[in-house]
């Protein structure tokens, strides 16, 4: 399904807004430019929030998909 290499993982299961975007920002900090972060969320509002977060920060949202059972998976690439 995904050939993208994942450099770091972040589990936001059980956390509601705004924690997924807040924790994503924090988790991205130690990464090098070009590295990727996988974030897992169960927040039903996470998809539009992550899309907006990506547009606002300029970091690439490489994939946003709903796995089964209300679990969402995002892959972000740090761009700056």
């Amino acid at each position: 399904m995904s050939e993208i290499t994942i450099d770091a993982k972040l589990d936001c299961t059980g956390l509601l807004c705004p924690m997924p975007v807040v924790k994503t920002k924090k988790a991205l900090k130690p990464l090098e430019i070009g590295q990727t972060l996988e974030m897992i969320s169960t927040d039903a509002g996470a998809t539009p929030d992550m899309q907006a977060w990506s547009r606002q920060t300029g970091h690439d949202l490489l994939s946003a998909e709903e796995l089964d059972g209300g679990v969402y998976r995002f892959v972000i690439r740090k761009t700056h």
Binding site: G14, L15, L16, C17, P18, M19, V21, V22, T24, K25, T42, D43, D49, A52, W53, R55, Q56, T57, G58, H80
Partner: protein
Amino acid sequence: MPTDNHKPRRLAIVSSKGTLDWAYPPFILASAAAAMDWEVGIFFTFYGLPLLKKDLTASVSPMGNPAMPMKMPFGSDGFQNIDWKIPNVLTSNLPGFESVATSLMKKSFKNKGVATVEELREMCVEMDARLIGCQMTMDVFGFERGDFIDECEIGGAAMFLEYAADADVNLFI
């Protein structure tokens, strides 16, 4: 950066209410904006000022909010979904209602995965949001600088307005 001139976007919020339910929106919006690399400033004035106290004691108002659903954070799904219509005339006169309603709200929020107000405030500080306490409110209510967290600034209306004049989003909460 997404904006044309490479200048980060800015969010300016006036936080004027200090009950537990009203404590959430400013800190949620501020931390989300800071997570998007926006500049953020919150001006805490009148009843919002105590949200900067070292010891946060925000609670649910006994007068309540007519639109606030009162749900139990325990029991079966059916029981939890019941909206207890408790009239304000009753809640405002019921001894202990304030602490009961406050602990119910805290428990419900915790069960659902909402961060506490303390945690959200900590996030804002960590992400360099400017938290500005209103000097005039301090004087009127008899607070001291030492009552508030070290990370906040103290200022007045002119200071906040100058900051807000350059904001892309201005909110009064």
